[in-house]
Amino acid sequence: MIGLLVTLVVVPGAIGDLLNSAGMKRHGEITDWSPLGLLRLSRDLLHNFYIMASIPAMAISFFALMALLSASDLSFAVPITASSYILETALAKYYLKERVDWRRWVGTTLVAIGIACLSI
């Protein structure tokens, strides 16, 4: 059960992150943080295909995280979900065309290893 919950947190979370990033790049920077501005933001995001596509993925990941948090320690549940970092970095490089130099690869790998250490 724990393994399934971890998979349901990680895989849809990675897909949701990629879609969120693509969608927000197309939307542009959020500059109006007033209540009216946030309403306009919500309206714009409702018409953003990438953001809308990311919602089901993020919802699955979020509810799986809630279930995981209730079934395990915080110091296990939160760090284990970072196992998707290297996968997401590779996907972002090839699908989002981000420039990933050696510092990002090494830094992300160290972070992933560090998170694995935290989850043991």
């Binding site: 160290l110 972070v111 560090g114």
Partner: protein
């Protein structure tokens, strides 16, 4: 891969633009980290008091939202989501992911202090690795793409003219 690619650093003589991008990236990253840590802590505390919601039915989750700590957790997770979306509107995903992972370090420390969870020597090693990894990523320029794809030097110039 050209490690000296000019795209990874802002154009020469335009330091104000560099400082603006890096400054707002640092501030919003800190907000993302703080809201994530507080949200996770509140959710864990609330769910522990409820006794768990391990179910495929949505009803236990909806019922859990009525608990004060879970409610606070959900509010902070909403703030986390919004601030993270804002950060992703200009910063790379491959920058945001590792940098905001500092929340894992803070979560482990808060778990140890307030939830009496154990932090072993291995945990401290993990915390050190994460910190070094973040420092490496922070050395890169946060924005290398926009909605049209990879940014070039001329893209940077055009943005500064605007």
């Amino acid at each position: 891969m050209d490690l000296r690619s000019p795209v990874l650093r802002p154009p020469e003589g335009r330091s104000w633009h560099k400082h603006t991008i890096i400054g707002k990236t640092v501030i919003v990253s800190l907000i993302v980290i703080a809201t994530n840590v507080i949200g996770n802590y509140a959710l864990k505390r609330g769910l522990s008091q409820i006794g768990g919601v391990e179910s495929w039915s949505p009803m236990p989750y909806i019922h859990a939202f009525l608990h004060p700590w879970v409610g606070i957790g959900v509010i902070f997770m909403f703030a986390w989501l919004t601030s993270r979306l804002s950060l992703l509107s200009w910063a790379d995903l491959t920058y945001v992911l590792p940098v905001t992972s500092f929340s894992y370090v803070l979560s482990a420390i808060i778990g140890a202090i307030y939830l009496n969870e154990q932090v072993s020597n291995l945990h401290w090693a993990g915390i050190s690795l994460i910190t070094v990894g973040i420092l490496l990523v922070v050395l890169t320029y946060p924005e290398t793409t926009d909605e049209h794809g990879p940014l070039t030097d001329s893209d940077h110039e055009n943005r500064m003219i605007e």
